[in-house]
Subunit: 316 residues, 3 copies
């Protein structure tokens, strides 16, 4: 049955090459809109495309008569250039001495390195190494560095360009359903509130699948299949979880169950909105989380793609 | 005037015997729905009952033309079984070595004990003692252990089965008003958002009374009467507080005023929603909070019941 | 062009003399409503005034056909009197031994001092010095102490009476736009949710300017002009920031760019609502933040006023 899962490494590499730190998702939004425009005619069903005024840099695709929505966040972690060559985190990047960062400001393209300086009180300060001052407020992100072999893919921003790739792959097969490309997930959230409100009030949709990447842990391993998360810092509703696990079993998907105490996603944020969303995080596990060396097994990505195709068919 | 306050110990014990950790409130929801169905004809007014699709595992009762709503959360704290016999907290249970936990998984009913293991770095890990692995994601809750004498009741989950009992008791007397049986209060919240939105948008209700259990502290004591909380981590609106305290005085209710710096409830969560809710936490004080030995004085429960009956009459 | 910026020190001193800790904004709300009533006929356009039921102690002014809203919070930090002469913080006041506090309870006006008592474990407890017990739940705020010279103003509660003054000054010039006088900003937030929802649903407004006071830091200095904040703990949307900075440049406003890692405002709270608000914090910088000695340069206040007049004209 693996035929439906098409891991498109070329598209993934393209998605990763487009910058889009939280709050600055305009370019990746435009790339995805262009891709949809060029490909939607080949899809099983053509969606209504919602973007622009009132949607910030997010996108909603509505197919047929939907009951369930995929949420895939299009923003990434990164850094903001502040005063005196210091850097402030956007989201939770791991800071590693010498890591390569890129961006652009009024003087043009920037390639720089991160430097960690410990002051007298043992406080770690993050600086960029550059002959000139970078404009205040400029965003810097990990320099793309895409590596692929038969077993795995390794790159910055698999979290969450893989989740976006998975949503795009599902789009080919969806007859009824919603895909939400959300923003701000890595830094404080804020877009799933209005996005969830929109699809709930207009279409009655209150079931969400969170297409995102999780962590390899003691209980979740590379090659073990897509992880269905039974909880992280948030607790999804038991009856909704049971439905999803039942469908995964019925359809003989290769999956593993995750039970963690920490971590959050668009799911935990959906729960804090004023809409009655059920949510479940479903994603391939990754190592070296939030570094330029994120690593995910291809078989797990394909399992993830299979499960989403199945769920969007059965839950819509 | 104490005749209106009927402390129904039998119903309380039943409520406590039904499991319902946050996110898994289906069984206690069904129990409450059944109870309402069997008893509503004896009530002063029959409410409209809202539950099911769009309400998750919560319930709303609407009586007449409402202005004020009681919120009573039906979920409890507990633990989730994770990998390698470890336990992750749901909400904030106090972990005590040897405490008895119950649950059920694919292999049947479970009775186990909690064990605290300190590792080399002094980190406390929670484990369950069991010959077999419990299914990943299974919820475990305190084993019921109901103790009653003339002065007090002692049991797990007085927080918040007592708040639920109080709401059910009030239901007998309400002509106009709303009762919300909410979920997820112990773990991150999330249901009062859509529940509050529903009753505000449909009925214009934006006044809330939080029927929940508070703590015995330096300023709030057993037998001192129902506690009206002037603040905890959240600050209710002063003019709303003054109205409630005025009504309690006018009706000669035995109450005490609470002023704390910590703690939260459905009230603090209602304030974070997009609806203009006024809220006030009103509940009997309890000792041994979030343990299997929670203890509340019966006179304080009766004072709580009296106050809710009075407030729901005067504020609707 | 400075002629539009009228720094009305008399009105500022009056605003500061009115008490209004978070949750207790009734008096300052009434003062602002009275001021509007007495002055609106002299304004360029008369606004629709929304307050009362459904708005708690907040106020919304709607001018013409609005696209952009000013948010100015009318609450202040302070303390709540608790048990045994102890004090609990409202918001984040800096506690300084001997600082003068005022309030009133059932026995009349109160003037007292704060005392910091360190217990055996080094825990700092806050107490008030008073012959009698103050009623539980009474709010105490900094005693007014207004100091003005040619260069700067110094007083408690410049944060955010200056932001309110700025909004009132802008009101004289606005033809299209919204002004929101919000509450609860200093303590947990909660009013911008329903206020933002109201102006988004009724008027389609989803652009916000946060009229509040920021900190003098390494990168933001007294006399450097109004600070446009490119980020604090929250990250505003880049395209919205760029629009505002572009308009400030075009109109030759004296401003400085802020990039901080900490701090929040009604802006960060608006982002957590279910409405698609763009927001930007724009305010004069202040020293001695959250003490009775807050200090702001008058030239920075005038720059702030200029910028708001320009933005409300160009963005509506």
């Amino acid at each position: 049955m693996k035929k439906l899962a098409h891991f498109d490494a070329t598209l993934l590499e393209e998605l990763i090459s487009i910058r889009g730190a939280s709050g600055d998702e305009g370019k990746i939004r435009d790339f995805i809109l262009d891709y949809i425009d060029q490909n939607k005619e080949t899809w099983k069903a053509e969606p209504t495309i919602l973007s622009g005024k009132g949607f910030q840099d997010a996108i909603i695709l509505v197919f047929g008569e939907p009951k369930t929505a995929i949420f895939a966040h299009i923003d990434t972690i990164g850094f903001t250039a502040a005063y005196d060559k210091s850097l402030i985190k956007i989201g939770g990047p791991r800071a590693i001495d010498g890591m390569k960062l890129v961006g652009s400001d009024s003087q043009g393209e920037i390639e720089t390195e991160l430097m960690i300086i410990e002051d007298d009180e043992g406080q770690r300060n993050l600086k960029y190494v550059c002959d000139r001052e970078i404009d205040r407020g400029t965003n810097l992100t990990f320099k793309p560095n895409f590596r692929l072999n038969n077993q795995h893919v390794q790159s910055p921003y698999l979290d969450n360009r893989l989740g976006v790739l998975n949503a795009i792959n599902a789009a080919k097969h969806i007859e009824n359903g919603v895909i939400v490309f959300s923003t701000y997930e890595e830094h404080g959230g804020g877009s799933v509130g209005f996005l969830g409100k929109y699809i709930y009030e207009k279409y009655g949709v209150h079931q969400a699948l969170i297409s995102d990447i999780t962590w390899v842990t003691e209980g979740v391993r590379h090659g073990g299949g897509v992880a269905i998360s039974m909880r992280d810092s948030g607790v999804p509703r038991k009856s909704y979880l049971n439905e999803i696990i039942g469908l995964a079993n019925k359809n003989k998907i290769h999956f593993q169950l995750e039970v963690e105490s920490a971590g959050g996603s668009d799911g935990t944020m959906l729960q804090k909105t004023d809409q009655p969303f059920d949510w479940c995080f479903i994603g391939a596990p990754e190592d070296n989380v939030h570094t330029p060396d994120e690593k995910v097994f291809i078989s797990d990505i394909e399992d993830m793609m299979e499960l989403y195709i199945v769920l969007m068919k059965e839950m819509n």
